[in-house]
Symmetry: C2
Subunit: 266 residues, 2 copies
């Protein structure tokens, strides 16, 4: 493996771009390849079998691009396939769930936390079980919020109906005395302010982006695979559906416009 090989990331759609943004900041000298499987988004309400099939399609595509490190920038995929990938791929694999758990345990003081995610992520129970293994004294309340992603994908991130849904999903947490909540879906940072308003300003909202970027840097450094070039590298974006819609969402998620998006068929 050569240090100038790219890092590959994928997500079911555009949510993983919140992870991409952190990697671009932390590792500007690395080539990054992002794949958004927008033709089959959302993964979060599909069965584990479908999620595994789709994830392997994405991973095979990225492996063919000769990546040196894989970042599974989707909690749903990460919940179902991370260990399989870590055991079978010849390159290191970083998943948002482990980075998210890392951040969450670092943040909580009281040990009472919430995990917010898609139906499939929450029902898999993986985050809850990993958290338990790592910190047996933590009490976690898990809540599936299936309509958050459709609202965010439609750009309705400040609509009163979204606020009603946030209250609907999160109401039960008000009496649980949590001090932190893991945003266990890479879309959710886009509606951070709404979640904060419903949970209250004292609750720490935890996301995995910075931890993922640090973990990628650490992993590459250990292997001696950090790109030694001093100049900022290009990023490549691939999508399985409409490139224009992807470009528009990417602008919103990254905070700056991207030039080329390439369509692929998995």
């Amino acid at each position: 493996m050569t240090p100038d090989a790219p890092i590959g990331l994928f997500d079911s759609g555009v949510g993983g771009l919140t992870i991409m943004r952190s990697l671009m900041r932390q590792l500007p000298q690395e080539k990054l390849i992002y794949l958004g499987d927008t033709a089959r988004v959302p993964y979060g309400n599909k069965s584990p079998q479908a999620i595994i099939r789709y994830t392997l399609d994405c991973v095979n595509f990225l492996i063919k691009q000769r990546i040196k490190l894989l970042v599974v920038a989707c909690f749903t995929a990460s919940s179902h396939v991370l260990y399989l990938l870590q055991e079978t791929l010849p390159i290191p694999v970083i998943g948002v769930i482990q980075c998210g758990i890392e951040e969450l345990t670092r943040t909580t003081r009281s040990g009472r936390v919430a995990i917010l995610g898609t139906t499939s992520t929450i029902h898999s129970g993986i985050i809850q079980s990993l958290l338990q293994q790592r910190s047996p004294l933590i009490t976690a309340f898990s809540i599936a919020c299936p309509l958050f992603v459709p609202f965010i994908e439609e750009g309705l991130i400040e609509h009163p109906a979204l606020m009603l849904m946030a209250r609907h999903y999160l109401a039960s947490l008000k009496t649980e005395n949590i001090d932190s909540a893991l945003l266990a879906c890479t879309h959710y940072p886009m509606i951070r302010s709404i979640i904060q308003e419903v949970l209250g300003k004292d609750i720490a909202l935890v996301e995995p982006a910075m931890s993922c970027a640090r973990s990628a840097q650490h992993t590459l450094a250990q292997k001696g695979w950090l790109n030694q070039q001093n100049q900022k590298q290009d990023c490549l974006f691939y999508t399985t559906d409409d490139t224009e819609k992807f470009r528009a969402s990417a602008h919103q998620f990254l905070g700056f416009p991207i030039e080329t998006v390439r369509p692929i068929d998995l």
Copy 2:
């Protein structure tokens, strides 16, 4: 083609079961095969290319089951692929859009109507253009309601947030003096009462289910392909994702439980 061959229907998910129900009532002596492509639902926010690809997968599966008639029980698929299918398949093809337009023109008195559908259906402009060809004097107001399907798929069909979204989408219609609205998505009959409440009780809400069933009967009668057996036939259900979730939704959409759902991979 033998009269005892089955009729095939497909939809991106469970919405098309509203059409299935009408066919079961109108043609109890016919064998019906329903395919719900739940692994790739929703189609309504995907590109035309993706919708065409997925539709052809579904159609190929049904053709292999030796069906004598195809019902495209999905407005989104129908909008993009109906003519292609009608020109290339060796069997008759019925689409919900033509049945919906038929009902709409029969219902309106004032000639001022609304068309409510998914983003992809509305952006395709097909319904608007077919309606114009058929009845040039009709004025149609088209509105995409992308969040209706996710709400319905989550079973939140009476939630106040859905009412807010209905007001958000339909507010502009209040001053257009329409007398009828076509529910141009097979999911929407499930939230008929909410749409009726927002538009007002005098507005006729039009759906294609009965018209589709009559059209199927008429087409088969013309060909001499009506099943002559006198007993009620079995119906087969296939899904591309989780069978249990499909069974639960089917119960809700059909109004009675179904026994066997078979998983397939397209």
